[in-house]
């Protein structure tokens, strides 16, 4: 019973275009959502987050959107760059608790 799902295992995008990574969750009690980026042989790196009281958070090229009624989270990267090629994990957290991760989406940005 996966509580956090990333249904696309991979995504390929042309440099300069928009990358959209999606994530669905099951529990409406989750109150904080995060995106992590992971390069091979490295640990996940925190990228951006959003509280359940908001529906959008932006940081430079990265924007996270939250649709609570649909229990859906998305990460937009504009413009995409080759250095963005990595595995992206969405995660949910309740205050002071564990992170529950999706299974990841591997993004490939082609020059």
């Amino acid at each position: 019973d996966q509580q956090v799902k990333q249904n696309s295992p991979s995504l390929s995008v042309q440099e300069g275009r928009i990358s959209i990574l999606n994530c669905d969750y099951t529990n409406s009690m989750f109150d904080y959502f995060l995106w992590y980026k992971k390069y091979p042989a490295e640990g996940p790196t925190f990228l951006i987050s959003i509280s359940s009281i908001k529906d959008k958070n932006e940081d430079g090229r990265f924007t996270v959107f939250l649709n609570k009624s649909a229990k859906h989270l998305s990460l937009h990267i504009v413009p995409s760059q080759p250095g963005d090629s990595a595995v992206y994990f969405c995660a949910v957290n309740r205050q002071g608790g564990k992170l529950i991760f999706g299974q990841g989406t591997e993004l490939s940005v082609k020059p």
């Binding site: 640990g43 996940p44 925190f46 957290n93 564990k98 992170l99 991760f101």
Partner: protein
């Protein structure tokens, strides 16, 4: 000046052995975690310690024993290693009651 560090990065050992993985954070955080990434790439919480006190234990076999000598260190000791223990183990830390967690580089454990 690595924020969360783990040693060793790679560990190859035989079934039945006992091994330890060490984790240190210099972020001044109060809470530390161990996660396991299995062969299907799922990252799952194993343990969480807050200021040396165990607060999360996620149905992990008791062959796994975390130890926190102080709030900057959280070590993972594994007894009687099994083939299924092969995975990448990540240490993480967070400020008290914070949502964001910061991860170490991982330790790839291979049991033969």
């Amino acid at each position: 000046d690595t924020a969360v560090s783990q040693t060793p990065k790679y560990l190859v050992t035989q079934m039945g052995n006992d091994k330890s993985i060490k984790c240190e954070q210099n972020l001044g955080h109060d809470t530390m975690y161990w996660y396991k990434q299995d062969s299907k790439k799922f990252l799952k919480i194993m343990f969480s310690y807050n200021n040396k006190e165990l607060i999360i234990n996620e149905t992990v076999p008791n062959r796994f024993s975390p130890k926190s000598p102080d709030k900057a260190h959280l070590n993972l000791h594994i007894n009687s290693l099994e083939l299924g223990d092969s995975a990448v183990y990540f240490c993480a830390s967070s400020a008290l009651m914070a949502y964001e967690q910061y991860f170490g580089p991982g330790t790839r454990l291979t049991v033969t």
